[in-house]
Each structure stands twice: as C-alpha cells, then as structure tokens.
Amino acid sequence: MVSAIKEKMKQANPFRGFRSIVYKEVLHIRRDFMTVFFAMFIPTVQMIVLGFGIDTNIRQVDTVVFDENGKKESRELIDRLRNSDTFRIREYVHSDAELNDAIVGGRAKVGVKIPYDYSRQLLDRSTAQVLVLIDGSDSSVAGQAINVATSIGFEESLRRALPLRYAIPVEVRPKLLFNPDSRSPNFFLPGLVAVLLLFFTAFLTALAIVREKERGTLEQLFVTPVRPLGLLLGKLVPYFVIGVMGLSGLLFFMRTVFQVPIAGHVLLLYALAMPYLFVNLSIGLLISSRARTQPEAMQLSMMVILPTIFFSGYIFPRETMPLPFYIFSFFVPGTYFVNISRGIILRGAGIEHLWHDGVVLLVMGVLLLLAAAKRFQKKVIAT
C-alpha cells in the first residue's frame, strides 16, 4: 500500500523526468559544443566591438574654415572652435564653392564661414554673423556640432557684451553622474548582459527542443512518464547554468578589461536575472511550439533578439524613439532588464528602485508561459 502511494506520488510529480533530462542534455552539450560556442560568439563579438571599438562621444569632427575676415577677432573665434575638442580644423578654404565642396565630398562634416565684415560689425556693436554648415547625414554628429557651435557663439557674445571686469552671470556646469567620462563600455556592457541572457535561454532552449522535434525523439519522450514541465526545465537548466557562467564571465571582463565599476550589489543583479530568464524560457517555448526545423527556430529567435537589441534602450535611447516605437518598447522584456542591469551596475540602484521592473518581468513571464504551455500542449503534444 505504501509503495502504491509512493508510486502515485511519483506519477503526480509535475517535474517527473527532470533529472533524467538534465543528465541527457549535459551529454548533448558536451558532444556538441559548437552550438554553445555559436551562442557565445555573438555576445563576445559585441562585447569586444562595443567595449573597445565604438566611442559614441563626438570628438574631433572634421571641419573646414573659410575665414573671409582674416582679422584678430576672427582668429580668436577659430581658436575657440579648435579648443572645444569637438572640432578639428583640417583645412582652410578661400571661397564658398570650396567650402561647399569639402562637405559634399565628405572631407569635412562642418564648414564655418566667417564673413569679411565680421570684425567691423563687432566694432560697430551690431550683430556679426557666422555661418556654420553642418552635414546632417549623421544625426548624432550634427546634433553635437549644433550644440557646441551655438554655445561657443553665446560665450563669445557674452564675453564681448560684458565689460571686462564682470564675471559671466550664470554658468551651467553639467556633471555627468555614474559615467563621468561618458565612456561607451559603461553604457553598452551592462545592456549586453540582457542580450547575452536572451541568447542562452530563449535561443538555445528553443533550439534544443526543436532539434528533438526534427529527430523525432520528442514524440518518443511524450510517450514516457516525463512530464512537460520536467522536460522543459530539464532542458532549460543546463543552458541556464551556462548563461550564468556567461554572465559571470561578462561581468568579470567588464570589471577588469573595460574598467566598468559595479556600483550596486552583484547578487541583486543575479536575483533579478531570474524573472528575466523566466520570460526568456517562455519565449523559447513559444518559438519551439511553432518552429519545425532549427533554421526556422533561429529565424524566429532573431525576431525576438533584434527588437531586444533595438528597442530595449540597449543601443538607442528609448526617450528619442517615435511614439509607436516607444510604446512598443514597453512590451520588450529586455527593456526592463537593461534598466535593471544599468541601474545596479552604473547607478548603484537597490531593490527599492528596481522592484517594479522585476514585477513586470514576472507578470510577463507568467502570461507568456501560460500561453506557451497551452500552445505547446495543443500544437506539439496533441497532434
């Protein structure tokens, strides 16, 4: 009787088969390391490129100057431009046509024309005009050039308008918190964590299930006492462990090679990674309930990974997105985890600041899992 009850409890265990699946999955991973390597490869390349290569700060923009005036006053203005670090004067030209040509030809992104009457207008105390041509084809360069050029103009005006002994009445001193040197690794690497975890959970779990679909082994498993939850968690856990190892590796390189300090608690980051992984598992499941082949699964995964890269705020700031995209970004789970990751690593945020992100992820995870489990039961098991 006791053994009969034990037998029933074994059957009632919704995680039945979990340990067996983990055992098998670990063997698969050991035999087929290429898949894991492939999943590692993209985040690693991103880490190297974004960590070393890209400097998003606009500095030393190529500039041509047409100094028609050629007096002391105009040379002072040119010096100010040069000292701003934003502009690098690479050429002086002697006509409007040449100025235009330098920009059209791509030799310079900014053209500055100081008209012949610049110094005379200053002396007459009327308004002296300076023409700044900006290549608008690169919007971030253009924005920065406008800002710096305008503020140099203001400073120059103030300096000339005020009597010498007066100080400038108001001086705004912006202080960049959390990333004082606005280094790009600080900005990108915490966000990369979100993409990395997505790869390891959604993508690899989906592949691992679809592979069994292709081989017909999934069909076989359904006829055994393995329960769907045991199967799915058994598949997830090995990749989750690899994902956490990847996360640790990423944090290690971020801290040592790229010198990004971690202001908050690493443990909180690991803890809040759980609901995010939960969401990703559900996405992986949805993919595997749909895809029949591995290439199909990869394409579907890309449909999830790309929005995470573009709309989560990982690369492009969400605040500047057009309204529809901004609204869309609220439905991208990565959005919340990018915020969590940057919050903890850069701003030193605690659970009191980030709990709502965690809750949103949890709710998303539950809804997606219910939808995925239902679809899986209907489209994969009972067909």
């Binding site: 059957q11 055992y23 063997l27 076989q220 359904f222 006829v223 055994t224 009972a382």
Partner: protein, 335 residues
Amino acid sequence: MKNETQKQGGAAGAGPNGAAIHAQGLVRRFGDVVAVNGVDLRVGQGEVFGFLGPNGSGKTTVIKMLTGLLPLSSGEAWVDGLDVRRDAEGVRERIGYMSQKFSLYDDLTVTENMTFYGSIYGLRNARLKQRMEATIELNGLEPYVDRQAGKLSGGWKQRLALGCAMLHEPKMMFLDEPTAGIDPVARRQLWDLIFELSGHGVTFFVTTHYIDEAERCSHVGYIYYGKMIADGTPEELKALPDVRPAGTKRVEITAPEITRALRLARAMDGIRTATVFGQAIHALVEEHFDLSEMRRELAGHGIHVTEVRELEPSLEDVFVELTYKHKETGKWATE
C-alpha cells in the same frame, strides 16, 4: 491522498478484465474531419496484434489516443487495466513505445541512451544496472555498448530502441512500424524477439505495412479512412465472405508480359478482380469461369499462360478486397 489512490485503483479495476487493450467507440475529430471513426478494439494479454492500414488512415492517431497523447473526442479505452481518459500518466508508466523513426539520441552511446530511458521510468542504481544488463543480453547489444547510437546500423538501432522501450518491463508494448527500412535478417530477428517476449506474457500492438509480418500476428486489425474494416485472426479474415464470396474462387495465373495479360484479364467476363503478384495474376473469378477458355483467349493475344492454379486467399488479398469494397464509401466522414 489515500482516498485518491483508492479511487484511481478502483478506476483501474473498472477496465474490462483480461484484456490488455479494450477500446469502444473510439472517435477523434480534427476540426470537422473524423480521423478515427468508432473504432472498437480488444487485444488479449500476450497477443501480438498487427494493426494495418494505408498511410494516413488513422493508425498513428489510434496509438496516440491509446497512449494518452490525444484526448478522445468520444468513446472509452483501457490499457493494461487503466482508463486512458483518467490516468494517462499511469498508462505511460506501464507501456513501452517504439516509433517508426529511429528516435533515440544519435550522439549518446548505447549505455547512455539506456541509462536515460531507464531513469525516466524511475530505475536507479543496482536495479537500473541489472535491467540494463538483462536487456543488453536479450537484444545482443554487448559488442556495441560504448558505441554512439548514430553509428549503429538500422537493425541494431531498432534493437536498441526496443531495448530502451522494454527496460522498465512493460506488460504492453506499442511498436509503430518497427521494421520500416531495416534489412530482412534484422527484420526476422526483431520478430523472433517479439514472439519470445510475447511468450512471457508481454502484449504487442504493432503497426506494419508488411503482409508477411501481419501473417505472423495472432490478431490483425485493418483500418481504412478511420474505420476498422477487419478485425480477427488471419484465418478468420481469410474466411470473410467479402474475401471469398459464395460462387467464386481464387486463382493464380502465371504468364509472361504480365501487365498486358492483366489488362486483358480484367476485361474478361467472369473475372471480378485481378491484381499482379510478382510474375502472376491473382484473380477472383466466378465458380463456373472457364480457365481453358481464358488460356485460349490470352494465347490469341500472343500470351502463353504457363500455369493456372487455385489459391487460398492471403492476407494481402483480404486487404485488397476490403479496400475495393470500401472504396465507394471510404471517404473521410465529416460533420
């Protein structure tokens, strides 16, 4: 928990006693197509039940219903005494299943595949080891224990699959086209093994397309467009009135240019049906059909019949006749 156990125990007892599989009025609808249309099944313990039918006729759907993968649209089914509708998990615990495709893990060795399947059924440590040794011996897998499953030949793969399906000593085995694509010797060996196990009381539910395999089964069912159109021992089926209508006989006509001969024969009065079997025509003819007249007529077309003899119907004849008979009505029932 205790009550629950007793209730489920009671459900198991409610299954009609004696039968390994008992199903009544199995119906499965997909949308408005009735894929399985009122199938009744009774398979006794220790029987080898051959389940035949054209591709897509509902064989796999029936297996999926009996193993609890697909809910029954209506009808009832017990497998090994358990109600499939109420205790699908319990059913899966007690059955072994081997699918038509080789569905073990190519990159795992024979031992690893077995360890995995054994552990799914809750076999551990000493018990697992003992069962694996016994299964390896029974299936003759000793030389290959450390080989990756993907590197085994077709016949050995099927033996490994069978081994994995029987590790937990099920009393009921479902084999879905176990011999598709393996060589004749391996096929024979697999069947020898099936009969050996059935001698020990294991019930087999086997789907196949091979008539010679069906002939060996102790019980055969034929499904066509979701309906069971034949069910019985091979002998019973051969004696069916549809197969051997009153006033007819079966003959085998051996002749050269067999396809031309078939065309001519089909046009003759007194020949009801005719099909090619190898170098001969198997025909169902009227009792009074004049065989020498037929010889002459074929000779007139330059075909010289070498032999004509009366024939007992084979299972293939049975299925061909039944399929002809149901061809008009044989459509998917829709709602």
